[in-house]
Amino acid sequence: MSNNTPEPRQPDAWIKTKDSVLYINPLPIRIWHWLNALGFVALILTGTHIRYAHLFNLMTFETAIKTHNWVAFAVIANYFVWLGFYLFSDRITVYHPELNFRKFFDKAFKQMMYYGYGIFRGHKSPHKVLPHDKFNPMQSITYQIIMLLVVPIQFITGLMMWDIKRFEVPIALLGGISTVSTIHVLIYIFFVSFTLIHAYMGALGNTPATHFREMFTGYEEEH
């Protein structure tokens, strides 16, 4: 670590398992991430099967529905692992929005330039990954929207469709089950491309496996 690097904040004692400031992804987050990844893939596959039952013959419609429901509940429970961790940890800062728009757009533009050009030239990312500031501006705004808006909406609409009768009133408030279903499907459509692009971007580390390894070990390797 060079002398120019600002002294990073020390992570919470209970998170810190090893004496390293590059311990970016603590165990709860790693567990949440990979369970969530498996869950999302299973939900997308079973969801596709439910929606286009005539195109697939992997399982019966009944099995697809049941699997989708059980996995969905697991993913919802898992979401609270993520939420609980960040609510009770000072690492919540990674999700704090940059309220200075000029600064945000400036940093975001630099990040885009990096992904569009610098990365191919072997430049360093303009964003320095730190335990309390691990997301670059583009990641930051994307994950804020996804984790605090899109994913909860998907859970809520999914829950409503799981038991239409029980959630009759909120469904009616949203304009009926067709509307609820359409919202759920639109988010599913978004997650289809998100999952693919997310996996690709995960392979943009020093080597294609770098970021994947980091997400298993918790340590940032590029510094």
Binding site: F61, E62, I119, I189, F190, Y200
Partner: protein, 483 residues
């Protein structure tokens, strides 16, 4: 002397006549006194009445015995007295030629009548006009145009004693049809013989149920169904005695209604099959919703053709929107299109209906139900081991193409008229708002969402490939530049 003898003989005649009259009067007074003081105990109440009743009927008369029998006999006597004049003629086999050229049997079997629930009712209680000296005959110049017309005329006479049932009947689809001039819709007398009324409980369902007369194909479907079969096997299902339903158990006897709209049918089925929700919830996701919008027969009449049936629903009043009297523009529009052989876009109907009610607070949507195609199919309920349990018969996009879509309109008389509808319209974006609950997972994806999914998938593949290719190109370009 001879003359004198002769005179004496004739002079005795008035005395004899007076004596006979006195005897008759005395006998009459004595008899009336007996009847008043002590109940009649003979097998045949009076000699006169007995003369009017055929020997076969007399044999069937109850024997003297306990007080109850005595009471019956007293009532019998009373009725016979009341109806003596009528039965003197109408007990015999005779017919009347009506204006329509048909013959009407005028015979009323005395004993059947006396044994019936109407046994104590005098003839003129119902045949009031006749009591008012308006007996149809050549003398009075009163004739009967047809049996049907006479029955329609007489229908309201039941009201006097059977007010509640009569009111129920007046609210039925049958009565509405009679009012509209139907010559087939049942009247009271179509099901109940007024001269020997039998309780519906005593009807032999398989043979003499009156519904069969008009609804024969439906009745045949019922007879072959699990309900009909159980009924014919003495209400025995799997070695246990279960009262299997007959027509009136579901459709009611008097307030006969079509069960196709709303949840009337489900409520009716659940009335006997109480644990239906529990049993379905063991395997069927969203049990409540399925039971709400899928007609029982859709799965339990496994060979029936199915359809998506749409109807306009008033979201404020929370009831299916029925056509009111004098408010029939949509029905006319639908009828006109149907006559041209066209099919309708349900969304147009929805818009038209909203347009009709401009200026009022309206919240109308098209609601859907899965129904079977015909009334016959609705009665072809099979044993539950044959019930459909394959979800994809409804939940796959192709299923829509296999199934029909209709728009149903409840007419002012309570009957439901169905029109073929354009199934393509149901997948459109606009359908999301208008057909708020038209929804079957996978069964009705919209084309727009399908295209968006393909675009998303394409983006998920193209972005990585594009980015990777861009990187390659930049690297090559830079490498060339360095050279």
């Amino acid at each position: 002397m001879v003359r004198s003898t002769s005179d004496d003989k004739w002079s005795a005649l008035p005395i004899f006549v007076i004596f006979v009259i006195c005897c008759m009067v005395f006998s009459g007074v004595l008899h009336a006194q007996q009847a008043e003081e002590a109940p009649v105990t003979e097998a045949v109440p009076t000699a006169e009445a007995a003369a009017e009743i055929p020997a076969s009927d007399q044999a069937a008369a109850p024997e003297a015995g306990d007080d109850a029998t005595t009471d019956v006999k007293a009532k019998l006597e009373e009725t016979l007295k009341k109806n003596k004049k009528c039965l003197r003629c109408h007990n015999k086999e005779r017919t009347k030629l009506l204006e329509d050229g048909k013959e009407l049997s005028l015979q009323v079997h005395s004993q059947d009548y006396l044994d019936s629930a109407h046994g104590e009712v005098s003839c003129i209680s119902c045949h009031r006009a006749i009591g008012n000296r308006k007996h149809p005959s050549k003398k009075t110049n009163i004739s009967i145009s047809s049996e049907r017309e006479y029955s329609v005329e007489m229908n309201s006479s039941c009201r006097k004693c059977h007010m509640q049932k009569y009111k129920q009947y007046k609210g039925s689809v049958h009565s509405a049809l009679v009012t509209q001039g139907s010559d087939k819709a049942p009247l009271c007398t179509s099901c109940h013989n007024p001269h020997a009324p039998v309780s519906m409980v005593d009807y032999q369902a398989e043979t003499d149920l009156p519904c069969k007369n008009c609804h024969e194909s439906i009745f045949n479907a019922y007879s072959a169904s699990v309900h009909g079969q159980a009924r014919m096997n003495g209400n025995t299902i799997r070695d246990s005695h279960i009262q299997s339903p007959i027509c009136s158990d579901c459709h009611h006897s008097h307030e006969v209604t079509a069960l196709a709209i709303g949840d009337a049918l489900r409520t009716t089925c659940i009335a006997c099959h109480e644990n239906v929700t529990l049993l379905h919830s063991q395997w069927l996701p969203n049990t409540g919703t399925h039971l709400d919008i899928v007609s029982c027969a859709v799965c339990h009449a496994p060979f029936a053709q199915r359809k998506y049936d749409l109807h306009l629903y008033d979201n404020i009043a929370q009831v299916p929107l029925a056509m009111k009297e004098g408010e029939e523009p949509i029905q006319q529009q639908l009828q006109a299109i149907a006559e041209e052989g066209g099919i309708k876009d349900p969304l147009e109907i929805w818009k038209a209906r909203r347009g009709d009610m401009d200026g009022q607070v309206v919240d109308i949507s098209l609601r859907s139900r899965m129904e079977v195609m015909s009334g016959v199919a609705a009665h072809q309920i099979a044993n539950k081991s044959f019930a459909v349990r394959t979800c994809d018969s409804c939940h796959e996009p192709g299923s829509r193409q296999k199934q029909n879509v209709t728009v149903s309109v409840t007419q002012p008389d309570g009957r439901i008229q169905s029109f073929d509808a354009d199934r393509e319209a149901l997948g459109s974006v606009e359908a999301i708002n208008s057909i708020s609950d038209f929804y079957a997972l996978g069964g009705n994806p919209s084309k727009l969402l399908d295209i968006m999914l393909l675009l998303s998938l394409a983006a998920g593949i193209a972005v990585p490939i594009g980015h990777f290719t861009l990187g390659k190109m930049i690297k090559e370009y830079m490498a060339r530049g360095e050279q």
